[in-house]
Amino acid sequence: MVDYASRAATRARRRETTDVASFVRRLDWILIGSVAALVAYGLWAIADITRHDVVTNPHYYFTHQVAYAAIGGVCLIAAVLIDPDVYRTRWREIFGGMCFLIAIVLLTGPIRGSKRWLDVGFFKFQPSEFGKVLFVLALAGFLAERSRRLHDPRTTLSVVGLALIPIFLVFLQPDFGSALVYCAAVGAVLLVAGTPWTHIGALAAGAVAIAVLVLGVMPAAGVPVLKKYQEKRLTGFLNPDSDPGGTTYNITQSKNAIGAGQLRGRGPENATQTTLNFLPEHHTDFVFASLAEERGFFGAAFLLMLYLLVVWRGLRIVTLAREPFSAIVAGGLVVALLFQVFVNVGMTMGIAPITGIPLPFVSVGGSSMIANLIAVGLLLSIHVRARTGRR
């Protein structure tokens, strides 16, 4: 007698194992490898950079950062396992939740002059970091729903209108850097969704007009939109010698730090810009400068290469995505990452405005680390479920 039942069970078991094996095989291992390398390299750098920061515990930031990376890894795995389609249908909830979280921060008390964190006991939760991922998901969901009416200007205007709500809330915190990242993400989302060039062109023109208005015309007319320090930071990098003791102090010290690294770096002990605290925020916003000082051109270029690898894999995922929603999500996340890397690294080298954008995977900070790993998880999840044709 043939035990059909047991044979079916064996078949099912075999199917299951082949399913799991196939799932694992279909992960983008190059992306995983480069992100893992980024996180590891970042942790190693942080361990050296922050050695002198907390006198009582030289490993304070390092251990924290390891914990965040671990949590982020778990979140990444969870994100891979969830089908992105789940988000597509629930973009309204995602959007509402995101706006709610960001709004809560505004209502609680300020930390260090700005309200970016939400204190949840062990951890200072920074919704605007997670907001980046949620923001892309929500807009992508909206665009996927309207994928047949992309040529209607109202679609584009609706996207912009939706996007402006969280952008404005983040701007109020004030977290100008994150607001800029959100703007970049909006552009990417529209681009990948297939919005006509005319709409994109009009939006770009509008953005330029607003920038001119905010930076030039309105202050001249006596209605300042930006705070003085924000304006100085935005334009300070254009003339770095204007105020070496004030706004551009950080930039000068940062450039000195990077330059002092030269080809091979000064090593963690001789990196005086970092160890003697001349470089402020050297474990967060200016971590790249510290890394460049300690590890030199080789080390800094290696880091940039890893980012380039991640961006390349991300763009590749855009082309492989199963359906428009996934493609749009992937595009938004990759551009957000690219933008953050450029603005942060560019800021430390004096070619981008000073904004408080952390360097993904490297800067000390749990929210940023976890949110970025979740974003990678999303990319992997899309990749796993990608079309099979071109593999």
Binding site: G194, Q262, L276, A300, L338
Partner: protein
């Protein structure tokens, strides 16, 4: 397909999603943007680290390097025997590095207020000091000298509450003899902006201590030494990391040895006070107003100053460390309080001019003999008064009526005798010019003596030209026609050192030194030598200094000088000599001349009137003089009453012998 089952087709997607050309184009664009972004970042990184790496590395190294100037101990000033006049004591200063103060205004103010409380000073004072140094961010600003041990301990313990504040060792001037020779020594103070502008090229820096007057100022270049350099590594808060590394050791300033003799200087100052006291206790008219004076003691052979006293005086220690305005006010050292204290900062020996009175008569005598308008043994009538050109000029002693030769006229200080000599000068042909003034000029009057101390007054040697230039229609609209003329009275009064003539005690001493040394005009000087201390492997050595100007021959006829010297000897020895009562009883033979000069002074009651300035100038021993003394007591009455006894005190100290007073004083 296995994946079919694991990933079922999406029922909402009607057709399989394909990579459309449109999406491919757009992703391609994004890729190009990404490549452009990374290319930019790489190029910038290359430019910073490889192309400009050296330069930025240097900038980074300079960041934490702090060059600290190490103050060199200032050289001490000693007297001719090596006894200290000014030395140093160590002190602790509280300094502020302005760049390291909190950037935030309110935090900065909070810190300064706290600091002020600790140091027991007003925050406004600190703010004012910092504002004065606001352009000088690379050097610490001293806000308090001589901080107490408690304060220093407190600040050191709470270093983190006071970013930018440091405690440094410093050297403070110390005056073992208090106000002794204050006018000679001068005082030190922080360099002013004007001084910095003038001396910046000579290596002076803001915050340096520099001599502000007296020897401290004149020989600052020897005294100040060379500051050293330490390199200190600091963090961004300015807190030092470890010990400072000395790079250049400070080189202490050299020791300046003066020609002053501490004991003689002390005696001169004591004598000055004694003379003033004596005048005040006498019942002469106006002597109650005796409140100042000067004594100059010179070596007549080379012009080295043995003592230079001026009264009233002050304590230079008032200027040590942080100067308190109120203390200066109380000492009369500020512009508004100086007058009420009779200008204690004024060095009356060189910077105040007085009519010389009868001490001038030897000048007239020598000039007249040189011009052959007076024979030494010619007898002229000495009467109670002398009338010329409608004016009557009185003799100080109205009861005298006898014929006198020059020596007797000098000894008894006969005014009418010299009136006649003065009139003879007036009668000289005008093409020869004013001959008396010419000789006086040759003897150093009307010009600076050239002493290595300042400021110095030239005095006033009136000439017909001077009258013409001074009294013009503009300056004297009412009677300039009369005043601008040189009249007989001008010559007559000039002969006895009155009217417009003004001299400084130092000029007078210089002239008497010329008489004493046989006709050579010396340049008074204070510097004996400069000794560089042994330090850092260099052995102590005497630094080369410019030698004092050699005595200049005046080509005075030896016979004429001999007659004047005879007259000066008789003035202190003959029975009617004006200071015989003072010097007659002194075992060493002293020659000298009294003077009573009338000067118009407002004693403070709003009625200016003439007061007698008491003078005595002379030298001793008479045959080979070792010391010239010139004493002046303001409003001291007759020369024999105040100045001569004061001068005697100096001689007593110099020769180590006491005098006994001999008979009543009969002096002008």
């Amino acid at each position: 397909m296995i994946s079919r089952r694991f990933l079922p087709p999406d029922p909402r997607v009607e057709e399989p999603y394909r990579l459309t050309p449109r999406l491919a184009l757009r992703v391609g664009l994004l890729g190009m943007v990404a490549i452009a972004v990374f290319a930019t970042l790489f190029l910038r990184l290359w430019s910073l680290q490889i192309l400009n790496g050296q330069q930025l590395l240097r900038a980074a190294q300079n960041n934490q390097r702090r060059d600290v100037r190490v103050e060199a101990p200032r050289g001490s000033i000693v007297d001719r025997n090596g006894l200290p006049l000014v030395t140093n004591v160590p002190g602790t200063a509280v300094q502020i590095w302005q760049t390291d103060l909190p950037k935030d205004r309110s935090a900065r103010l909070r810190e300064l207020r706290k600091l002020a409380r600790v140091l027991l000073m007003s925050p406004i004072d600190i703010g004012r000091t910092l504002r004065r140094h606001r352009n000088d961010l690379l050097a610490p600003v001293t806000i308090k000298d001589s901080a107490t041990e408690l304060q220093v301990g407190y600040l050191k313990e709470r270093r983190h509450d006071f970013p930018g504040v440091q405690v440094a060792n410093e050297y403070l001037r110390y005056y073992p003899h208090r106000e002794l020779a204050a006018h000679v020594l001068g005082y030190v103070g922080e360099i002013s902006q004007q001084q910095l502008d003038a001396l910046g090229k000579q290596g002076y820096h803001l915050g340096d201590t520099i001599g502000q007057s007296g020897i401290e100022s004149v020989y600052d270049r020897y005294l100040r030494g060379t500051p050293g350099l330490d390199i200190l590594r600091v963090d961004s808060l300015g807190s030092p990391l470890g010990q400072a590394t000395p790079v250049v050791p400070p080189h202490p300033g050299s020791e300046v040895r003066l020609t002053i003799d501490v004991k003689l200087q002390a005696a001169a100052e004591q004598a000055l006070r004694y003379g003033i006291e004596r005048a005040r206790n006498s019942n002469c008219y106006g002597c109650w107003n005796a409140n100042g004076g000067s004594i100059v003691a010179l070596d007549p052979r080379d012009g080295s100053v043995r003592a230079l006293a001026s009264y009233p005086t002050y304590r230079p220690s008032l200027y040590v460390g942080r100067v308190r305005q109120r203390a200066l006010d109380a000492a009369g050292l500020t512009a508004k309080s100086a007058e009420s204290m009779n200008y204690p900062a004024l060095d009356r020996g060189i910077d105040a001019a007085y009519p010389p009175g009868s001490t001038w008569k030897p000048v007239t005598a020598i000039a007249a003999m040189q011009e052959h308008i007076l024979q030494p043994f010619e007898s002229l009538a000495c009467t109670g008064s002398y009338t010329k050109a409608g004016h009557t000029f009185k003799n100080w002693d109205p009861f005298v009526n006898e014929a006198m030769t020059l020596t007797t006229a000098i000894a008894q200080s006969c005014d009418t005798y010299f009136y006649q000599v003065g009139y003879r000068f007036y009668g000289m042909p005008s093409r020869l010019g004013p001959r008396l003034q010419a000789w006086a000029h040759r003897f150093g009057f009307g010009q600076k003596t050239g002493i290595d101390l300042g400021p110095e007054q030239t005095g006033l040697l009136p000439t017909p030209d001077w009258r013409k230039q001074t009294y013009t229609k503009k300056t004297d609209p009412k009677q300039w026609q009369v005043d601008s003329l040189w009249k007989p009275g001008d010559s007559i009064q000039l002969a006895i050192g009155q009217k417009d003539l003004l001299v400084t005690p130092m000029q007078m001493a210089r002239f008497y030194a010329m008489v004493a040394n046989g006709g050579k005009l010396v340049t008074p000087h204070l510097l004996l030598d400069v000794e560089q201390p042994s330090a850092n492997r260099t052995r102590g050595r005497t630094l080369p200094t410019p030698p004092p100007p050699a005595p200049e021959p005046t080509n005075v006829d030896a016979q004429a000088l001999a007659v004047v010297r005879e007259g000066l000897f008789e003035a202190t020895h003959s029975s009617l000599g004006t200071s015989s009562a003072i010097f007659g009883g002194f075992p060493i033979s002293i020659s000298g001349k009294t003077g009573t000069a009338e000067k118009v002074i407002d004693p403070g009651d709003g009625y200016p009137r003439t007061f007698n300035q008491s003078w005595w100038c002379g030298y001793g021993p008479s045959d080979s003089p070792d010391l010239v003394v010139c004493a002046l007591i303001e409003n001291g009455g007759h020369g024999g009453d105040a100045a001569a006894p004061a001068a005697l005190k100096v001689f007593e100290q110099f020769f180590g012998k006491q005098a006994t007073q001999k008979g009543p004083i009969h002096s002008d």
